[in-house]
């Protein structure tokens, strides 16, 4: 069965062959993968999906892979957790946490997009993959390239934190530390992607890469018992995840896999880098680029490539958006850990904080189902919590010392 029709420009609608291009030659609009939905309609069923592996590849029919899955076999199908404690704290009837902080192998939703991109890079015959990143994407491209036995070039700003460098270098890529400000690194990598015949995952093969994000939505709908929730709150960096979850919802409704539940998609961004949320709040399509200034570094994209499409998706769905200050981000991380036992990165703190505000404003009614999108692991952004964590009870190795310390602790912390 032929499933991929080709690429289609999101702006002018012109069709082009499925090739490693990301920009329409005519209008410079972004390209998107288009499918033969009439063929998919005949074969994609709930039973067929349920018979698939416990990974994103159970949705392979709706991903732009032609051949077999050759790597990343365990990516995705992360838990969706019914929240009791946080739901109670917020007075919500039905709250779920879709937890990609445990996504295999590099603990963020980026494994979904990168595994699709690297398989596609192999299908196109590339021997080298590349990306420009400051964190999660770098980790994931280096890891998947290692598994694929492809060469990888990862470009980073030279002043990146040691933790992120180690989390990439362990996979043995060629790590290129670029000495320059953000704009210079940005421009250089765009030129490198143009000049070298490498599969730059978020540039030259972006249309294929970004399709992997749909699986985050598919999993939510399947894991909720083949239904869409009333609200999904999604953190935005480039805006692609949000736009693709909206695409996932539309695809499944069109294929008859789920009913229309009137799902509203809400965007969450940090106050120090929130061009998508600002555009939604100002009720405009025009995204004004910003210079990021936030601790939520995994969302710090000032000029988001898919920002316009994220704004459009939120509007179409009838959703809304909220910013979170750095302090609110940290409180959000602590709240999720304290109530649900989930340690998310700063981006997750943004989602928690934004959701709280949307509930308080009455935009998310307390009697409707809500999914919180947790997209990355807290251990990667430990610095953000420096100086905020509870003190440690330190004692000598004797029962008497523990007894005494415990008594003092209880007094100090008002514990019975």
């Amino acid at each position: 069965m032929e499933k991929i029709k080709g690429l289609r420009c999101r702006e002018c609608g012109r069709a082009s062959p499925a090739a490693p291009h990301h920009v329409c030659e005519f209008c410079f609009g972004p390209l998107e993968v288009d499918y033969h939905y009439e063929n998919l309609q005949r074969i994609v069923t709930r039973a067929r999906i349920e018979a698939g592996p416990p990974s994103i590849w159970r949705y392979k029919d709706l991903l732009p892979i032609d051949g077999e899955v050759t790597l990343g076999h365990h990516v995705g199908f992360t838990p969706i957790i019914r929240s009791r404690n946080l739901a109670e704290e917020w007075g919500l009837k039905e709250l779920w946490v879709k937890n990609d902080s445990v996504c295999h192998p590099t603990w963020s939703f980026k494994d979904r997009v990168v595994s699709v991109a690297v398989i596609k890079a192999r299908e196109f015959g590339f021997d080298t993959v590349a990306c420009a990143s400051t964190g999660n994407l770098a980790n994931s491209v280096a890891a998947h390239a290692a598994e694929a036995r492809l060469r990888s070039y990862i470009f980073i700003p030279a002043d990146l934190e040691q933790g992120k460098i180690v989390g990439t270098l362990i996979y043995n890529p060629t790590l290129v530390a670029v000495e320059g400000n953000y704009d210079e690194v940005n421009r250089l990598c765009s030129e490198v992607a143009d000049k070298y015949r490498w599969a730059f995952v978020n540039i030259s093969i972006r249309p294929f890469y970004s399709e992997g994000s749909k699986t985050y939505g598919f999993e939510i709908f399947e894991q909720l018992g083949w239904r869409a929730p009333k609200h999904i709150v999604i953190p935005c960096a480039g805006g692609s995840l949000l736009a693709k979850v909206w695409k996932a919802l539309k695809e499944w409704k069109a294929l008859g896999l789920i009913e229309d539940a009137g799902t509203r998609i809400h965007a969450a961004q940090a106050l120090g880098c929130g061009p998508i949320v600002t555009a939604i709040k100002h009720k405009t399509d025009v995204l004004v680029p910003v210079r990021p200034n936030t601790i939520a570094k995994s969302l710090a994209i000032g000029n988001p490539a898919d920002g316009y499409y994220a704004v459009k998706a939120v509007k179409e769905s009838g959703g809304w958006a909220e910013h979170a200050s750095d302090e609110e981000v940290l409180e959000g991380m602590e709240l999720l850990a304290r109530t649900e036992g989930i340690f998310t990165e700063t981006a997750g703190g943004v989602t928690v904080a934004a959701t709280k505000k949307l509930i308080e404003q009455g935009i998310i009614p307390r009697d409707e189902s809500v999914v919180l999108s947790i997209t990355g692991m807290g251990a990667k952004t430990q610095e953000a919590l420096s100086g905020r964590l509870p003190e440690t009870m330190t004692i000598r190795p004797s029962l008497a010392a523990f007894d005494q310390a415990l008594a003092e602790w209880k007094t100090k912390h008002y514990i019975n």
Binding site: E11, H22, V23, F26, C27, F28, G29, C131, A132, S133, T134, G135, N136, L137, F155, P157, Y182, V185, N186, R187, C189, S190, E191, A193, N202, I203, R206, A237, G238, V286, V288, P289, K297, S298, L299, A300, I301, G302, N303, P304, A305, G307
Partner: protein
């Protein structure tokens, strides 16, 4: 001759300045507008530029000096 694809973003005070005209006249850069959206307060243009490496470098430096934001057509390329 080299080609470049860029987004130019104009702040309000430059909306009425013919900067694309100056790219051609003062820097010998051939410009070709592919898409654009200009309002009274803000505007962007998706533009193809063609010229020598040196003319392109000088032209883009001049744009930045004027306060025009020049980005790759992919917008932010360095992802978190």
């Amino acid at each position: 001759m080299a080609k470049m694809r860029v987004y130019l973003t104009f702040p309000t005070d430059l909306i009425q300045v013919p900067v694309i005209y100056h790219l051609g006249k003062d820097f010998n850069i051939v410009t070709n507008i592919r898409r654009a959206d200009v309002t009274p307060t803000y505007g962007w243009v998706a533009l193809e530029l063609e010229g020598t490496d040196e003319d392109l470098r000088r032209g883009i430096a001049w744009l930045r000096e004027k306060g025009v934001k020049v980005d790759p057509i992919e917008r932010d390329v360095v992802l978190p």
